[in-house]
């Protein structure tokens, strides 16, 4: 309202004005009250804070530890999270774990403590043992930090569905941060374990492969990764145990070699003082030399390098090869039987001892359980061709199987025999390396075999030529420079037993056993044409 208006105002207007000012007064009063309340609150808060500093009775029950430099050797046993079960109820335990999630709710703070693939719910509540400040401190610990807690194990009435330890929770008495994580994580663990389909449905975030691999250390903490690599370790162990029981000797072979061992796959060249050398594509030649040196049955677990510029779901430039070579008595099927039995023992071992890992991976990447037959099904190449032709595929008798045909064949075999693992025997000689032994009954074919898991090749093997003369002939036929493989051919000149073998890719076996879709998921730090780090 302007002054002029006020001056020329009628009584009516004055009245109005009076009413208005009354309103304004009331308003002012209210504001003043508010301000007072605010001030009061502020005062209370500062007072609170003061009390925080002054009388936090739980002060020495929580905090950030000094960096652990092995100052002292505490006589304190840390209980594993997986061991927290109802029979420990009422006990006071120390646990070291990561903060998986934390959720503060008034006077309580719920934490999920994670240790490898196991987790447990923990609770800090204001009370006799914990102060308000301690709860606040608990709520503010960054995710993924490592903590030591002392807590009472308590049975719960309702199962905690979100944790692996469903029947108990921890009531925290002491809480110390051993290693603090930065507040911002490059990826969230929950996002990384979310099944892809579900994520799309709910419009929630999932983490793509490259982000995972760029931050592999964090990605490897997920329950899925933990399960995958524990199972992979199981594959290796079962492989070793089974072969050792069969009387095999484990050998170590050089990976830096002077000549490319086989044609086909390209090799990495490395500078070697004044000359150059290659990274081994397979321990093939060395395994064979060991056979010629009377080791009879050998195997080797180690890195294998392939310089193929293929960016597919199943190729890596460096992977772990599980290689077998074995002298046999009369027929190379003795070796096939030995290898397939080893594979079956691995599958059985995984089925019987790694069920929880398999289930964990299945939660994120659902797949049918791996099926197999004992003894392993063996088909011959001509049967495969007939099967494929009856399914409408046009292919020549001596043509190699293309990747799509391999997969189709896998489906056809699964349909009839319900097995995810089989051997295909008697490949055409023309599609195999020079050292492959020709079939005595039909020179177009060879004593060679591939093994398949879920329709993808995991092993390629054959009876090798153990006769120096035939080996020379075959090498010449393949247009190989004899000078370069002289030492290899020479090893067979002084008496060589008939032998056969094969090599398996560890990552592929793990991938296909679990029904995963990318070999990078089963390689801890994968190497491919586009990735050299981490």
């Amino acid at each position: 309202m302007t002054k002029e208006q006020v001056k020329g105002s009628s009584a009516e207007e004055e009245e109005q004005q009076a009413a208005q000012s009354k309103k304004a007064l009331k308003k002012q009063q209210k504001e003043a009250e508010k301000a007072a309340k605010k001030a009061e609150k502020q005062a209370k808060l500062t007072a609170d804070q003061q009390t925080t500093e002054e009388d936090d009775f739980a002060q020495d029950r929580y905090g950030v530890c000094v960096m652990l430099q092995s100052q002292e050797k505490l006589d304190r046993s840390l209980v594993r999270v997986c061991e927290l079960s109802p029979d420990k109820a009422g006990q006071m335990v120390w646990v070291r774990a990561r903060i998986h999630t934390s959720r503060a709710k008034g006077k309580q703070c719920f934490l999920v403590l994670r240790q490898q693939q196991f987790n447990v719910q923990a609770l800090v509540a204001v009370g006799e043992r914990a102060s308000k400040q301690m709860v606040k401190f608990a709520a503010n610990i960054t995710k993924e930090s490592i903590v030591d807690v002392e807590a009472v194990v308590q049975k719960v009435e309702q199962k905690i569905e979100s944790c692996s330890q469903q029947d108990v929770e921890l009531h925290i008495q002491r809480l110390f941060v051993v290693s603090q994580a930065e507040p911002r994580l490059p990826l969230q663990l929950e996002d990384a374990v979310r099944p892809e389909v579900e994520g799309e449905e709910e419009g929630r975030a999932t983490v793509n492969q490259d982000t995972r691999l760029d931050n592999r250390v964090i990605d490897l903490r997920t329950t899925t990764s933990q399960a995958i690599f524990r199972l992979q370790s199981g594959v290796c162990q079962l492989f070793r145990d089974t072969l050792t029981k069969k009387g095999f000797v484990e050998i170590q072979t050089p990976k830096i070699i002077s000549a490319a061992s086989e044609g086909g796959a390209n090799v990495f060249t490395v500078s070697y003082f004044k000359t150059s050398a290659y990274l081994a594509q397979s321990p093939q030649l060395y395994k064979q030399m060991c056979i010629c040196a009377d080791f009879d049955k050998v195997f080797c677990v180690g890195p294998v390098f392939r310089a193929e510029d293929s960016n597919t779901h199943r190729h890596l430039t460096e992977f772990v090869g599980l290689d077998i070579e074995m002298a046999f008595n009369y027929h190379y099927h003795e070796v096939i039987d030995s290898i397939t039995d080893t594979m079956v023992q691995i599958f059985k071992g995984l089925r019987d001892n790694f069920q929880s890992e398999i289930q964990t991976v299945c939660k994120q990447y659902p797949s049918e359980p791996f099926k197999f037959l004992e003894p392993t099904l063996r088909l011959e190449f001509t049967e495969a061709v007939t099967l494929l032709r009856s399914a409408g595929v046009e292919m020549g008798d001596e043509e190699d199987l293309s990747t799509p045909n391999e997969k189709l064949l896998g489906r056809l075999v699964k349909e009839k025999y319900d097995t995810d693992f089989y051997v295909l025997d008697k490949y055409p000689l023309a599609v195999r390396p020079f050292y492959t032994m020709p079939d005595p009954h039909n020179p177009k074919y060879s004593n060679s075999y591939d093994m398949f898991m879920r329709g993808e090749e995991i092993l390629s093997g054959a009876q090798r030529v153990h006769d120096a003369q035939l080996l020379t002939e075959r090498a010449l036929h393949h247009g190989i420079d004899l000078e370069k493989i002289k030492s290899y051919i020479d090893s067979f000149r002084y008496g060589a037993p008939p032998h056969a073998g094969g090599g398996i890719g560890l990552e592929r076996v793990t991938m296909l056993y679990l029904g995963l879709h990318n070999v990078r998921q089963t390689s801890m730090f994968p190497r491919d044409p586009k990735r050299l780090t981490p």
């Binding site: 359980p369 099926k371 037959l373 004992e374 049967e383 099967l387 349909e415 009839k416």
Partner: protein, 221 residues
């Protein structure tokens, strides 16, 4: 000696053109109830053809008694070359509710039930009756065997045993002078149970005759 199952069978005529690969018959059976009739028929097939027999254990079952692993006899000495055989007989011990046969998966659905698989295998021998009445009688006996003898209650079994007894009073075998699938099916279903409770005289005699048939050895110790 008893006349055996003779017939002239041409696999090309029965199963279609030879495509150059082993014709492999896959049978899935539960080790909890071994299909005895199929084991007898396997023996008969081996008499007529070069059969590559193999026994496998599927990953769905964990332990199979050793006698079931060798129930198709010792491995053929030529088994390293699958192409040398006319027929494949692949028995897979598997966790299945019903016996199942898979043959030409592209054109045939899986055949379920031991009776139906037995009929298929018997026809491969080419000795099934040509007369439609006898052929139907055969089918009927096979049904009786698997539905009433194997799965029926004690009353039902007793009734079947009575009708078997009267039939066997009139002829040596169920369909006349020669043994057929009817005899194999009925005998196997009685033997499967182990306790051949109060079998009438004619049935007793006939069971002994069945046991004397060459290929019953694999199922009767």
């Amino acid at each position: 000696t008893v006349p055996s199952f003779t017939g002239t069978a041409d696999l090309d005529a029965l199963l279609g053109k030879d495509l150059g690969a082993l014709r492999d018959i896959v049978i899935n059976a539960n080790p909890a109830s071994p299909p005895l009739s199929l084991l007898v028929l396997h023996g008969l097939l081996c008499q007529s053809y070069r059969v590559l027999s193999s026994v496998h254990v599927h990953s769905s079952v964990s332990s199979v008694p050793p006698q079931l692993l060798s129930c198709l006899g010792p491995r053929h000495t030529d088994s390293y070359s699958r192409q040398r055989f006319q027929l494949g007989f692949t028995l897979i011990w598997k966790d299945v509710p019903k016996v199942q046969m898979k043959f030409s998966t592209q054109s045939m659905c899986p055949i379920e039930g031991e009776a139906n698989v037995a009929r298929f295998l018997f026809r491969l021998l080419g000795s099934e009756p040509k007369d439609p009445i006898v052929a139907t009688q055969l089918d009927s006996w096979v049904d009786t065997a698997f539905f009433q003898l194997a799965e029926g209650g004690s009353k039902e079994r007793a009734a079947v045993l009575r009708s078997l007894n009267s039939t066997l009073g009139r002829s040596i075998w169920l369909l006349g002078h020669e043994p057929s699938l009817a005899d194999i099916a009925c005998a196997c279903c009685i033997l499967q149970d182990g306790k051949a409770l109060s079998t009438p005289a004619n049935v007793q005699r006939w069971l002994q005759a069945c046991r004397n048939l060459e290929h019953f050895h694999c199922i009767t110790p």
